[in-house]
């Protein structure tokens, strides 16, 4: 049975539609990440699941029960907020116990459960303190404890790590992953950080302007992006896009653009002779070319960004900026001529007008 089902869900504020006819089904024990740029509706969608926003149209069910008109407290969910949303005047113990007290759980049991949850998250020493006396990471752990103690059917995370510094964010990300491994609670996690999405998710739901662009495992989304938006949004550094004209040549195809003509086999793509397409290549898929290689992009290195293990080389080819991520030891000097090749298995082709992938399913 699916844990969460959204069917034909709409959300509008007055005349502005934020989410349009959204259909989504989330399985039990799954870790699903809503990913997208700011304003894509991912947080709104999460808040609709939580019951903090009204649903303008369609139906949301959690655990097989339609929850459209249920109060947030009655939906069997728990939520962790971006800014922790702790009760500032209560001790950590009272913060964690608040929900149980409202449900009239007997005091000895509350005490037992709070201590158990606090032990899991390493909050024992802080139970008597106020939130303001804790660091950001500790506060977020309290927020997670407050969510965990309710043993919900579904965890909702609304950008929980955005307020933390980079190092703490990595640490908490690992903790959340471990927590999901041990609790196996269905989790919906909103973020705009693709690294969080890639590392945590069983499935990523990529949203743009209130519409789902693609749903899939991190590997699928990275390896087989459904359209040019997904391809451009996922992956750091960003994918190179080159507008090309497609022509037939012998058994294969020739892509002309950015000052070069590239011959490809073309099997696996729906190509039209004379059509226009966008060629996508991820920077790490460009390798330093040797003599005799096919599929070569060349130019002069304009900019070199040193990353440690690798270096990002940006070069101009036919007026188009192209980046290649190469091992640092192969890094060219600035303004030197560079030649990079790619393998056909690693390229992406998109329709120039619709942006949809031309890959055969």
């Amino acid at each position: 049975m699916s844990a969460i089902v959204c069917s034909h869900v709409d959300k509008a504020y007055g005349a502005t539609t934020v989410i349009r006819d959204l259909n989504l089904s989330i399985e039990e024990h799954e870790f699903v990440v809503f990913l997208g740029p700011s304003g894509c509706g991912k947080s709104t969608l999460l808040r609709m699941l939580a019951g903090l926003e009204d649903i303008s149209g369609g139906e949301v069910s959690i655990g097989g029960k339609v929850v459209n008109d249920l109060d947030p407290g009655d939906r069997g969910i728990a939520m962790v907020f971006q800014n922790y949303a702790l009760y500032p005047h209560m001790t950590i113990f009272d913060n964690i116990a608040f929900g149980l007290r409202r449900q009239k759980v007997p005091a000895p049991e509350i005490d037992k459960r709070v201590r158990a949850v606090a032990a899991t998250l390493g909050l024992d020493p802080y139970l008597g303190r106020k939130p303001a006396e804790l660091s950001g990471g500790q506060q977020q752990r309290v927020a997670i404890a407050r969510a965990m103690i309710k043993t919900p059917k579904v965890f909702l995370f609304d950008e929980p790590l955005s307020n933390l510094d980079a190092k703490l964010r990595n640490h908490m990300r690992v903790e959340i992953a471990r927590l999901h491994q041990s609790l196996k609670t269905t989790t919906v996690y909103v973020t705009h950080d693709q690294l969080e999405a890639m590392t945590l998710a069983d499935r990523i739901v990529l949203l743009k302007d209130g519409v789902i662009e693609q749903i899939g495992s991190p590997a699928e989304i990275y390896g087989r992006p459904a359209n040019i938006f997904v391809a451009g949004f996922i992956g750091t550094p960003n994918m190179n896009f080159i507008e090309v004209t497609v022509a037939r040549s012998g058994n294969g195809w020739t892509l002309t653009g950015a000052g070069t003509a590239l011959s490809i086999d073309g099997a696996g793509f729906h190509l039209q002779p004379g059509g226009r397409a966008v060629l996508g290549i991820r920077p790490p898929d460009l390798k330093t070319a040797r003599d005799g290689d096919a599929g070569i992009l060349q130019g002069t290195a304009d900019l070199i960004e040193f990353h440690g293990n690798d270096a990002l080389v940006t070069f101009g080819s036919g007026g188009k900026e192209i980046s290649a991520l190469v091992p640092a030891r192969e890094c060219p000097v600035l303004h030197a001529p560079v030649r990079y090749m790619f393998e056909e298995a690693n390229i992406h082709l998109f329709d120039a007008t619709s942006g949809a992938s031309l890959r055969q399913q």
């Binding site: 969910i77 800014n83 949303a85 009760y87 608040f98 409202r102």
Partner: protein, 288 residues
Amino acid sequence: MPRRSSLPVTFVVPTLVILLILSMVPTLYAIIIALQNRELSSTAYSWVWFSNFFDLFSDRRFLNAVWVSVKWEVVTVVATMVVAIGLGVLMFEVASQRLRNVYCLLFIIPVLLPRVSAAFVWKFAYHPLYGIATYPYRLLTGGLIFDPLSKPSTALFAVASVDVWQWGLFFAVIVLKLLETLPPQPIEAARLDHAKRWQIHAYVTLPMLKAPLVSLMFVKMIESLRSFDLIYVMTRGGPGVATETLDMYAFSQGFIESGKVSYASAMAVLMMIATVITFTMLWKRVQA
């Protein structure tokens, strides 16, 4: 003294001196008078030291005035805070943004009225025959007379209601604005934590607003001490001594009934001492 710091001193000192003179001279003079036996009817006086104070404690009308003052203070402060928090929360829960603005405007009007005008308006509203506030009673009982201002049991509450009408509604606006400044997330978290609406306010929003609400209460406590104009217009301390607060009694002893200014000053000095001690203790208590 270095040259740089002389400018602020130049500006501050004259004002401070004027303030000190204005506040300290009457205070000291009141203390001096309280130790004498001056009366308005003659210029002769002698030093009687503390006998005015001893007399006060055997004066049953004075003890009554103390009791009325305490009642007045408790009733007006508690009722104002209850009305302010109740109405503030109610507006926060049910009123739309536009309605809130309308209510806020309406609720500020009473406090803008001068106290004496408000007192006259309500004195007439409480009129047993023509008053709008007593109209429902006449209607329901078929014309029976109810005069809240001339019954000892209701007079104090009738006057207090005017005070609450002015300040409770105004404070309701402040409470609403305070609630609006709170971050929404803890409220949302409480909703997810199974809290009912009243529980959200009882356990989350109002405790978060504890400091400003306590400040508001202090403002009202100080304001309630200045009840003279309201009581003077509406009941003059009556019926009998039912609404005679300390300032009313001191005024009538000093200027109306017997002209015993020294006796009245002794009361004023006692009031000052009691107020300073009470407020210092309360303030320390709240700060801790």
